[in-house]
């Protein structure tokens, strides 16, 4: 019996007259890696932000571990402790070393004692291959390293689910691989993940399910094999063709 970690029903987000997305339904099982793809401006990032309550949806409900987190009286800070988030532009705390970036949440949010927190932070850095950079500041790290520290920071909180918002879009091409590698290992280790990305190679290889969003709604979803080889809709086919063409060319140039 698989355990459903995240359930989204009829989620709607509107800015002014602008409907970002409407009536989104999505279910994520424990251990699954869901990859959300689609043209930019279709509300993929906003959807992730709604899931960890950084943005308030206008309608619909979200459940995390069978507990509704869109209730009015929910403790948002508590909810966010259980949801890890990785951002496009890393957003490391720029005045803290890599180690302190990972450690801070453990000490201040989880109230761990300093020695235990330091040990755990170090282990998390080891997990993303950066224990030798523990005492470097973000400004002294490459983009790929910064993003790996950001992943370690999120993982340190022992989240139930990890959200990735275009984690490689701000990286130079040669740095993308190291971040995807960390994410691949995480997925293999059984972490539940929702990933917004344009990396079709990653989607194809790692995703349990690919969700194609366009113009604020989910067009179709299915296994990578189904979506890439037997898409139901012309729109899906066109998007995949376009993006594979674009990124395929890049890959050949490498």
């Amino acid at each position: 019996m698989v355990n459903q970690i995240l359930t989204i029903k009829n989620l709607t987000k509107i800015y002014g007259d602008n409907i970002i997305f409407q009536d989104i339904d999505l279910a994520v099982n424990e251990g699954d890696t869901i990859v959300i793809i689609g043209p930019s401006g279709t509300g993929k990032s906003t959807l992730l932000r709604c899931i960890n309550l950084l943005t308030k949806p206008n309608g619909g409900q979200i459940w995390l571990d069978n507990e509704e987190i869109t209730r009015e009286d929910v403790n948002e800070d508590k909810v966010r402790q259980h949801i890890g988030m990785v951002f496009q532009n890393f957003l490391l705390f720029s005045h803290l070393t890599a180690l302190d970036n990972v450690k801070l949440g453990l000490v201040k949010v989880k109230k761990m004692d300093k020695a235990a927190a330091e040990l755990k932070a170090f282990q998390e850095l080891e997990r993303v291959g950066l224990s030798d950079r523990a005492h470097h500041f973000p400004g002294q790290l490459s983009g790929g390293q910064q993003q790996r520290v950001a992943i370690a920071r999120a993982l340190a909180m022992d989240p139930r689910i990890m959200l990735f918002d275009e984690p490689t879009s701000a990286l130079d091409p040669e740095l993308i691989g190291e971040v995807l590698e960390v994410m691949r290992n995480l997925s293999l280790a059984g972490m539940t993940m929702v990933v917004v990305t344009h990396e079709m190679g990653f989607a194809r290889e790692v995703a349990d399910r690919i969700v194609f969003m366009e113009k604020g709604s989910i067009v179709e979803q299915g296994s990578p094999d189904d979506l890439f080889n037997r898409p139901k809709f012309q729109r899906t086919r066109e998007f995949l063709w376009k993006i594979t063409e674009l990124y395929g060319k890049k890959e050949q140039e490498k």
């Binding site: 988030m85 957003l91 705390f93 005045h95 400004g139």
Partner: protein, 214 residues
């Protein structure tokens, strides 16, 4: 009167000048910090109130405000001119320091707050552990400018009769008929104080700089 006694008389006001500064500057910092946080994070009404406070305080000459605040205070509580003057200057400075800190808060990227919330911190924790440490670093250069202004403005309490540097220069100039010497001595002492303060703050800025690759 020989020269060394002349200078010594004026220089002995330095303790008052320093005293006024060391009360006014930190109290202005604490108030300014609290007001800046309320301004930025306190919602629309609080921001409006802080803006009014800032506009009024910065729109009136400090000497006029000093008299107003002094007479409010000495009318209600029994405070010596030294304390009343120092606290008044602190209140005046708080408006300027609020603007300095507000500017620094706004130049910390908004993403830092979002990242802090994303690991489960409350807004207060995010402000305290993430936003403020970066803010205060950014605020040091403009703040050292304000520190110089407060040192110099401490001379305004001469008008309340506090025997600080300027007051003493004025007294000795009147009794010896040597205004040039008296005021030049005062000027040099103020200048030395400002120079030392700026040097110290420059060092502080350097030692707190966050390491980064060029």
């Amino acid at each position: 009167m020989d020269l060394s006694k002349f200078i010594q008389y004026i220089a002995s006001g330095t303790s008052y000048t320093l005293g006024v500064t060391l009360i006014a500057l930190p109290s202005g910092l604490i108030l300014g910090l609290i007001f800046a946080i309320i301004y930025v994070y306190g919602g629309k009404i609080a921001a409006r109130l802080m803006n009014i406070y800032s506009t009024i305080m910065r729109g009136i000459p400090p000497i006029v405000l000093l008299f107003i605040l002094y007479f409010i205070m000495s009318g209600n509580i029994n405070l010596s001119p030294f304390w009343a003057g120092s606290i008044s200057l602190g209140i005046i400075s708080s408006a300027y320091q609020m603007e300095i800190i507000r500017g620094a808060i706004l130049s910390v990227s908004g993403g830092q707050m979002i990242a802090a919330l994303a690991i489960g911190m409350s807004r207060m924790q995010a402000i305290r552990y993430i936003v403020l440490p970066q803010t205060l670093r950014l605020a040091i250069p403009p703040w050292s400018n304000e520190a110089a202004i407060v040192i110099k403005d401490s001379s305004l309490v001469y008008a309340l009769g506090v025997p600080e540097i300027l007051r003493r220069a004025q007294l000795i100039s009147a009794s010896t008929q040597q205004p040039f010497l008296a005021y030049t001595t005062a000027a040099l002492i103020y200048f030395a104080l400002v120079l030392m303060t700026n040097t110290l703050l420059g060092r502080l800025e350097k030692s707190l700089r966050i390491p980064a690759n060029p």
